[in-house]
């Protein structure tokens, strides 16, 4: 029986606590008597018969006829799937998307469906490479569909493959992939690694264009998504749900298949298994492994460390597969997500600390640049709450990450200009949206790189910054421990050499003897704050 999450009050007997620090780690002492640590639950027991669960979901869907009954000869079938940003880190083969897509295709084959398209729903993310597509859908599906151009990446800038479906009552334009919109059935295969994913967001964002996405990826929406991990309190999700209604009214038939994974990120054997244990349970072997790993990593070049970590494949277990109509499926999926991630926490804190790991959704096989550090810390991790933020309004967020002034020139070309031009001018999301966003979004060179190379869309760094808009407004100060000083200052944050220095600096904002909470993440944990 896996143990639930835990809030540990730190006292003098508490050992130093593991902080992720990019492609390395730090062990830090938290002040006793006024600190607490939020630990994730242990991985839930996975499904023993995943193939059986997939079959059951497809044959007994929620609020829908069985998938087989919705397939017929001569129909146009589109299967869309989540892109390389999920799950993190990537899962060991076979990826759950492959297993679901093969089961869907097997039924399509039985029904005699010829016209099938398989589309990576990547919105404004970079295109997936052949290796990444093969990893996600498997070699059999790739070899059967990709050579004839029937498996491809969504292109949010292709004027010939976008269909305008209408406008929501709030004036939000809905424009999605034309082939998906005109199909007789759109099967969406998702992975809900956190509660933010899935639901109408899958189609309304994953297969949408810039024209459509800009209506909810903006500072106002993000500031009012509290948090975007809690869909009922998230303006981001409200907008997507309104768009989902427009898609439904336009006659697009969506068969949603959502899956959830447990938090078995580093496994229970192997060198990284220590990262999944609570520090006081580390054995001698764990400690020796950790020290050896850290000593080795500290002596490696950044690119070698990146290669090692980006190569890691998590042994996740599948905890649920649900199919049918979008909304009931997503509600069921959220139950599974919350069962794994939520940990009850009482009250807010003055100072929130986090160790940021080596990966976020936008640097798979890439570099975690300073903008992504901000997005991961102030966007994703800060928003891992339900109810109230873990840190009080005007509180301090302390992040631990090397924050290198380094960018992947192929994946993140517009990030470089954003960092040099926009952030040098302003860190206010609203100002940068009004002054710069349009120019970056419509830049022909960025558009060309997005469509033909492996670059994120020109507007993407703005979205990353907006992702942290709620935290920027909520927090009194942000401090980054162990980061590149110039890069941290460019972000508008304060650099610190050690956690003790950062805690000392935090007293300028929150007063002496502040309460401290450490979010022990990853594996993923979400605070249910009351």
């Amino acid at each position: 029986m896996p143990r639930p999450g835990l809030v540990l009050d730190v006292d003098r007997s508490t050992p130093p606590i593991l902080f992720h620090h990019g492609e390395s780690f730090r062990l830090e002492k938290l002040p006793p008597g006024r600190s607490r640590i939020v630990y994730p639950a242990e991985p839930l027991a996975p499904l023993k018969d995943v193939a059986g669960a997939i079959d059951d979901a497809l044959d007994h869907p929620l609020d829908s006829d069985p998938l087989s009954a919705r397939l017929f000869p001569g129909m146009k079938l589109v299967i869309a799937f989540d892109d390389v940003s999920l799950p993190l880190p990537k899962m060991r083969r076979p990826d759950i998307r492959q297993r679901v897509i093969e089961a869907v295709l097997d039924r399509a084959a039985a029904a005699g469906v010829d016209d099938v398209r398989i589309i990576a729903a990547l919105a404004l993310h970079r295109r997936m490479t052949e290796a990444e597509l093969r990893h996600a859908v498997g070699d059999r599906v790739y070899d059967a569909f990709a050579p004839e151009g029937r498996l491809y990446n969504h292109d949010a800038e292709d004027p010939d493959d976008l269909a305008f479906l209408g406008t929501t009552p709030h004036g939000e334009e809905v424009e999605i992939n034309k082939r998906a919109a005109e199909s007789d059935l759109l099967v969406y295969v998702n992975i809900n690694i956190v509660s933010m994913d899935g639901g109408h967001k899958s189609t309304a964002t994953g297969l949408a264009s810039y024209r459509s996405i800009r209506h909810h990826h903006n500072p106002a929406t993000m500031e009012h998504s509290r948090s975007f991990m809690d869909r009922h309190s998230s303006e981001l999700h409200h907008a997507n749900w309104r768009m989902g209604e427009v898609i439904r009214k336009a006659g697009v038939q969506v068969f949603q298949i959502e899956t959830t994974l447990n938090t078995d990120t580093f496994g229970d054997t192997g060198p990284l298994s220590v990262l999944q244990k609570r520090e006081w349970e580390w054995t001698t072997r764990d400690r020796v492994t950790f020290m050896g790993m850290k000593a080795g990593l500290d002596r490696m070049s950044a690119s070698a460390r990146r290669r090692i970590f980006q190569g890691w494949e998590a042994p996740y277990g599948v905890t649920s597969v649900t199919a049918g109509a979008v909304e009931p499926v997503h509600e069921r999926t959220l139950e599974h997500c919350f069962a794994q991630h939520l940990v009850p926490v009482e009250g807010q804190t003055d100072v929130l600390t986090m160790g940021l790991p080596y990966i976020c959704p936008y640097n798979v096989h890439s570099i975690m640049n300073p903008i992504l550090v901000m997005c991961l810390g102030l966007g994703y991790f800060f928003n891992l709450y339900r109810g109230k933020p873990l840190v009080r309004e005007g509180g301090v967020l302390i992040l631990s990450h090397p924050t290198p002034w380094e960018f992947h020139p192929v994946h993140h070309p517009s990030y470089i200009d954003f960092f040099e031009e926009v952030l040098a001018d302003t860190t206010d999301p609203k100002v940068m949206a009004d002054t710069y966003e349009e120019r970056y979004a419509n830049d022909e060179w960025y558009r060309h790189l997005y469509r033909t190379s492996y670059a994120y869309h020109g507007v993407h760094p703005f979205y990353m910054w907006y992702w942290g808009a709620h935290a920027l407004r909520h927090l009194g100060s942000v401090i980054i421990v162990g980061g590149d000083v110039k890069a941290v200052r460019r972000l508008g944050f304060r650099p610190a050499s050690t956690l003790q220095d950062a805690l000392e600096m935090a007293t300028d904002t929150v007063g002496p003897q502040p309460t401290v909470t450490h979010l022990h993440n990853p594996p993923i944990v979400m605070a249910d704050v009351t």
């Binding site: 193939a51 084959a109 070899d143 569909f145 050579p147």
Partner: protein
């Protein structure tokens, strides 16, 4: 008229002398033949009925020793140290479908089509852990166990057990079932023998019987390419490439008849063959429509069957690429 015979050269004379000297040396074969009783077995006098000897070869060969710790260690060394490099050099296998085995737990029966003597080695070296070093093979009793040397080699290298092909006996089946119950996985070729012409033969029900009897899944496996390297009827290896494709495990349902399961196994291997020849989705379309090209090939005369095989039967060394000529 001139003498057309030319005098022998010095080299020819030397060769002739060496040959003559060789003939005068004692011959080992002659020496063996010259050995008499009691150094060799006695001949049986005419009209005497010798007492019946207990059979120790063929289906009666006892392979229990091949599963002792020492033999398993030896097989591990043979499999990893000899067989695997040889297979890699000769057959250059491309292995697919391991992802279909995720979630498979405990012993299983790996049932493959059979084209060549290489198949057992190729399949055993292709099995992933934890099955590879806890597997045994079913081998023809009349072929692999007819002499003590062959029987010992088959038992040691392949952990083979003898399977009767010519008559129905319970001994082989019970031995295989006991081993499966004991946690061993089985490699079996349900066709019962190598393909005589490159096309498949009807599957027998042995694998299905064991699966139903022991309640274990059958993993269909398709082997492609070994028929080009060492087909039946030849002893010359022509190195080439092969493909090993593992299919989705088939689990016998509680009330499933073994003939139905045997048909499912054959259909699964047929589907895998179609998948290897083309693309997976088209193969699934044909499988569901019952239109997968049969493993047994077209029902036609021999030459048309051979013709339909194309280069799948070609047992020739590929022509060397000529040195590019200058324009």
């Amino acid at each position: 008229m001139a003498d057309r015979r030319t005098p022998a050269t010095r080299v020819e004379r030397a060769l002739r002398s060496a040959r003559d000297a060789g003939r005068r040396l004692p011959s080992p074969a002659r020496a063996v033949r010259a050995v008499e009783f009691p150094l060799r077995a006695p001949s049986v006098p005419a009209g005497v009925e010798p007492p019946e000897r207990k059979a120790r070869l063929g289906a009666a060969y006892d392979t229990a020793w091949a599963r002792s710790p020492a033999a398993r260690l030896g097989r591990l060394a043979l499999l990893e140290g000899v067989m695997r490099p040889v297979i890699r050099a000769v057959a250059d296998p491309e292995r697919r479908g391991y992802d279909r085995l995720v979630g498979l737990d405990g012993p299983a029966i790996f049932a493959a089509n059979h084209l060549s003597h290489l198949d057992a080695g190729l399949l055993l070296t292709s099995l992933p852990e934890p099955w590879r070093h806890r597997a045994f093979a079913g081998a023809a009793a009349d072929y692999f166990f007819d002499t003590r040397v062959k029987a010992t080699m088959a038992a040691l290298a392949l952990n083979a057990i003898p399977i009767e092909r010519t008559k129905v006996t319970r001994r082989s089946a019970l031995l295989a079932a006991d081993l499966i119950d004991d946690g061993w996985s089985m490699v079996i070729f349900p066709e019962g023998g190598r393909s005589p012409d490159g096309w498949g033969q009807p599957f027998r029900a042995g694998a299905a019987f064991l699966a139903v009897r022991c309640g274990v899944p059958v993993v269909p496996v398709h082997l492609e390419g070994t028929g080009r390297i060492l087909p039946k009827g030849t002893s010359r290896l022509v190195p080439g490439t092969t493909r090993v494709t593992f299919g989705t495990p088939l689990r016998p349902s509680p009330d499933e008849d073994m003939r139905d399961l045997a048909a499912r196994i054959e259909a699964a291997v047929t589907g895998l063959a179609d998948e290897v020849a083309g693309d997976w989705y088209a193969a699934r379309r044909r499988a569901h429509a019952g239109e997968s090209p049969p493993l047994s090939g077209p029902d036609a005369s021999a030459w048309r069957r051979a013709w339909a095989l194309g280069d799948r039967r070609s047992h020739r060394r590929p022509a060397r690429t000529p040195w590019p000529l200058r324009d």
